[in-house]
């Protein structure tokens, strides 16, 4: 089973990369982009576990290592 994990900066935490990218898009003439936030995407392949168990262990993984919850939030998608 595969899972996808998205780690993004919390709202309110400054994202200098996102700001620079937004400015670059505008330099390219790609207007209409109001804001860009840069985050991390991780694809995880799980051993044979049930969906609930997968969610539980990935939640623990995010809290203890994959995300720093002082500045980041995370979202887990299981399956696919």
């Amino acid at each position: 089973m595969k899972a996808k994990i998205y780690v993004t900066l919390k709202r309110g935490v400054l994202d200098p990369q996102g700001k620079a990218i937004r400015a670059s898009l505008s330099h390219l003439g790609i207007d209409g982009v109001e804001d860009v936030r840069v985050g991390k995407f991780m694809e995880v392949t799980l051993k044979e576990v049930g969906v609930d168990e997968a969610r539980r262990l990935l939640d623990e993984a995010c809290r203890r290592l994959l995300a720093n919850t002082v500045i980041e939030e995370y979202r887990i998608e299981i399956g696919g």
Partner: protein
């Protein structure tokens, strides 16, 4: 009196710290590999700068899981002096030994320069005898030194006297222009509530002797030695 200089894969200021302690200050120093799970026999711990584990995932995120960090936690809980410099500060944050987190510099550039620091409290072993308001000249070299914490944490740090250094101008004024990375409230270094664990982005070990352009960094290590001496009585 024996000091431990921790060495992780990717530490690169370990030899500078060792040199400053052993050859400049003249105190016993020993490298401690991160796989070692005890710090018995040591009186102080230095977590040096570098790029532990290549900064994978986040600066300090991997190093916090090394066996030696359990020993650092116990050492700190016992009141022993711990200083984390640059990546060492990032490791202390990731290990939850200090509050807050680091984000990339607001300039999006690696900053490598001498800066001025305003000392804000003499209650840590590393600032004992350095009066509030003193100005130190110490270099920084980092890409992720933009200290972040939510407003309530920042206020609590200030109320409890946990802000140890702020970036300032040569006269000691804390100004926006003198902040090299955009850190909240110009914070360059903080300590834990007890005061024995200090994390700072600037590198005192790189300026511990006049030949390096400033000897201000030595004052922190001299303070540590004096503090340990007092404690021993």
């Amino acid at each position: 009196m024996k000091t431990a200089v921790l060495v992780f894969p990717g530490s690169n200021c370990d030899h500078d710290a060792y040199h400053a302690l052993k050859h400049v200050v003249g105190v016993e120093a020993e490298f401690v590999w991160h796989k070692q799970a005890t710090l018995d026999g040591f009186d102080a711990v230095v977590i040096p700068g570098g790029f532990t584990y290549g900064d994978y995932l986040r600066s300090g995120a991997m190093a916090k899981l090394s066996p030696v960090m359990g020993a650092v936690r116990r050492f700190a809980e016992g009141g022993g002096p711990v200083i984390g410099i640059c990546n060492g500060f990032q490791i202390l944050l990731e290990a939850d030994l200090l509050p807050g987190a680091m984000i990339v510099n607001d300039s999006l550039r690696f900053v490598c320069d001498y800066v001025h620091l305003r000392a804000c409290t003499d209650r840590t072993p590393f600032t004992r005898g350095i009066p509030d308001g003193s100005v130190l000249r110490i270099p920084v070299a980092h890409y992720q030194g933009n200290y972040y914490a939510d407003e309530s944490t920042l206020s609590s740090l200030e109320e409890r006297g946990q802000v140890v250094f702020r970036y300032c101008d040569p006269e000691g004024e804390v100004t926006k222009e003198s902040n090299p990375n955009g850190s909240a409230r110009n914070i360059a270094g903080i300590c834990n509530e007890a005061g024995n664990v200090l994390g700072m982005m600037p590198h005192p070990e790189r300026c511990a002797e006049e030949a390096m352009g400033s000897a201000d960094g030595r004052r922190l290590f001299d303070a540590m030695v004096a503090w340990l001496g007092e404690k021993r009585g």
